[in-house]
């Protein structure tokens, strides 16, 4: 079995020694805030304005993973998301107005309004290759995409995101095994928010840890702090390097917590309140912004400006999305078979 490498939580004294440029750190923070503000807006558009309908799963609280990972990837890398994919879309620079439009089912959406919230993180221009609503199903797909990357000799890796619940699907086991046998450049990222809908990890996963299960396929496995974007960034950098050397695939388990329910209407009362409180005290954005301000990577003023710029971007994007019409039913027939 491969060793499991733990990439610890970044300490204040450590930060500068890591050699990560300030611009990179600021960009990570910006992406986290963007993902947060995006979802807060989605909640408002859904619950207060009914502009978004259908199932909707928010990324609130998990921003450190998508943002940290995104900064460790290149524009050529491929990303496969899930129904909880808005955070992946916006940290991967998918146009905000298009993601909003998709959530509203509008023709200018990332999927022309045909996918909805669960598929909004599909935007092939940014190599967001698909967002699936079937738990675990993107894992074998990543194996095949990795095979194609290898065969074509592309300078890229394939990253598949999924939750702790997905590791109990047959697809996880079949997909990771295949990728390992083929040694393809795929990085499997388990965003372990500790719940699969209402099922806590401990009642769904028999292995001691999810990382151990992955390591059993004899692939390099990392455990990162899912509430610390630098920890995730470092794990992802490392994993990407291994993949590019031809030694992939790799696995990253990032432990985090979703701030709210599984879907927008889930009150999540199956979670113990002290646990919810404990994790609320570990808000990844509050912690990371404090770290950066304390370490003088950016000033309070710069952080404030960053947030208001993002707010403005969001407002403008919503306005644009709302102006987009629904697709015409008559066009759907032409969408079924590719030309």
């Amino acid at each position: 079995m491969n060793d499991i490498v733990t990439v610890g939580t970044t300490t204040p004294t450590e930060l500068k020694g890591l050699g990560i440029p300030d611009e990179k750190l600021k960009s990570i923070l910006r992406k986290m805030v963007l993902a947060r503000r995006f979802e807060e807006k989605v909640e408002e558009l859904y619950l207060k304005m009914a502009l978004i309908t259908g199932p909707c799963h928010l990324y609130l609280g998990m921003e450190a993973i998508a943002a940290g990972a995104a900064e460790a990837l290149t524009v050529d890398d491929y990303v496969l998301a899930t129904y909880r994919g808005h955070g992946h879309a916006v940290t991967r620079d998918a146009p905000l107005d298009k993601v909003f439009a998709e959530l509203m089912g509008r023709v200018d959406g990332t999927c022309k309004g045909l996918g909805g919230s669960m598929h909004a993180a599909t935007w092939t221009e940014k190599k967001l290759m698909l967002a699936t609503a079937i738990v675990g199903s993107n894992i074998p797909i990543a194996a095949g995409m990795g095979l194609a990357v290898k065969k074509k000799g592309l300078d890229a890796v394939v990253v598949a995101y999924f939750g702790d619940g997905a590791v109990n699907s047959g697809s996880f086991n079949e997909g990771v095994n295949l990728a390992a046998v083929w040694k393809v450049p795929a990085i499997f990222v388990c965003e372990n928010n500790q719940y699969a809908m209402s099922l806590p990890e401990a009642r769904g996963v028999a292995s001691k840890s999810i990382a151990e299960r992955a390591a059993a396929y004899d692939i390099p496995t990392f455990v990162a702090d899912g509430n610390d974007p630098v920890s995730v960034y470092r794990a992802m950098k490392e994993a990407r390097g291994i993949c590019r050397r031809g030694d992939g695939p790799c696995f990253i388990e990032a432990r985090t917590y979703r701030m709210k329910g599984h879907g927008i209407y889930d009150k999540a009362d199956y979670r113990p309140s002290d646990e919810v409180r404990e994790w609320a005290g570990k808000d990844p954005i509050a912690m990371f912004s404090k770290l950066l301000v304390d370490q003088k990577v950016l000033s309070e003023k710069e952080y404030g400006d960053m947030r208001s710029t993002i707010d403005n971007e969001i407002e403008a994007a919503v306005k644009k999305a709302r102006a987009s019409p629904y697709p015409e039913f008559s066009t759907l027939q032409g969408m079924v078979y590719p030309e």
């Binding site: 509008r106 079937i134 109990n168």
Partner: protein, 325 residues
């Protein structure tokens, strides 16, 4: 009589079955404390405990396989697959194993499991969370397929399904969960394979499935005002299909309209149409008519989904055309 919702009727059938027999147990995702994604199993964990209301991981193949395994030792598992769209993941266990075991074992093995699922068409759930796929299971001899349309039938059909010795796929409809109707308090069964004439009429036969039953009934009321008297038949079970009731009705009316949420090509309606053509061609006064979903993945945006879906209005329109013959 009391009124219950479709959802409450199902919950009652499950809870009383669990009371009657210790062999009955439930398994599926989020069916415990959460009460099931739609609330059908609400309260059952508190009543019967975690040994009999078992929350499973997201492992559809294992859920159905495990239910099958337990059934072979004479237990009566009721497995829940959250959305019908996730059934294909367990297709091997359900179709290649459960459905055929009795036959292949020369009658030695009996897979008496009930597999409950639902379809969410009409709720903006998108193309991977809305599908109604009954026809996929018509080519699995040994598997019975049930699709109730009323609270009364939901309870009675579930009771009857629980008595079956072979596997039953029990397909609920999310749009019907809140619909209300009379439900007797005590135990009763609605037999599998027996259609129900939900409305008598002499001018045309409308065979409607699941959600389309109330839609067809509403259409029939409007048609009556226009002087067209439609008979509405709810097969209730899709496999076995009560061909006789349909043929008898068509023999009387001479006209057939089929209304179902599944797709037109290769759908349940195609099977019903072929049956009527085979057995009652000489009694048809008009070409038959089908109101189903177009051969498209389900669009997400609500206005498009609405256009996509079969509806009472579409049934009425097709019926008016049919009546012209």
């Amino acid at each position: 009589m009391r009124e219950l919702t479709y959802l409450e009727a199902l919950n009652e059938a499950l809870s009383s079955a669990m009371e009657r027999s210790n062999d009955v147990f439930l398994l599926g995702e989020d069916i415990g404390a959460y009460g099931g994604a739609f609330g059908v199993t609400k309260g059952l964990l508190q009543e019967f405990g975690a040994d009999r209301v078992i929350d499973t991981p997201i492992s559809e193949a294992a859920i159905v396989g495990a239910a099958l395994g337990a059934s072979l030792l004479g237990m009566k598992p009721v497995a829940e697959i959250m959305y019908m769209d996730f059934l294909p993941i367990s297709m091997d266990q359900l179709v290649t194993h459960a459905a055929k075991l009795y036959y292949m074992s020369g009658g030695q093995l009996k897979a008496g499991l009930v597999l409950r699922t639902q379809y969410s068409l009409g709720r903006a759930h998108g193309a991977q969370h809305s599908e109604f796929l009954p026809a996929w299971f018509l080519q699995a001899p040994g598997l019975k397929v049930v699709a109730p349309s009323t609270p009364h039938d939901a309870k009675g059909l579930l009771n009857a399904s629980l008595k079956e010795k072979g596997p039953v796929l029990f397909v609920e409809c999310a749009m019907l969960y809140k619909s209300k109707g009379d439900v007797p308090e005590g135990y009763y069964e609605v037999p599998l394979g027996k259609a129900d004439v939900k409305r008598q009429g002499g001018d045309m036969t409308i065979v409607a499935i699941s959600r389309m039953v109330p839609e067809a009934l509403a259409a029939a009321e409007r048609l009556a005002e226009k002087g067209i008297d439609a008979e509405v038949i709810d097969p209730r079970t899709i496999q076995p299909l009560d061909r006789k009731t349909i043929i008898d009705s068509v023999s009387k009316t001479g006209r057939l309209l089929i209304a179902s949420d599944d797709m037109k090509t290769g759908g349940v309606g195609a099977e019903i149409a072929a049956t009527v053509f085979e057995e009652a061609f000489d009694r048809l006064k008009a070409p038959l008519s089908r109101v189903c979903s177009p051969d498209l993945p389900i669009p997400f945006a609500s206005p498009l989904e609405k256009e996509y879906m079969p509806s009472s209005e579409k049934v009425e329109k097709a019926a008016l055309e049919l009546a012209k013959w």
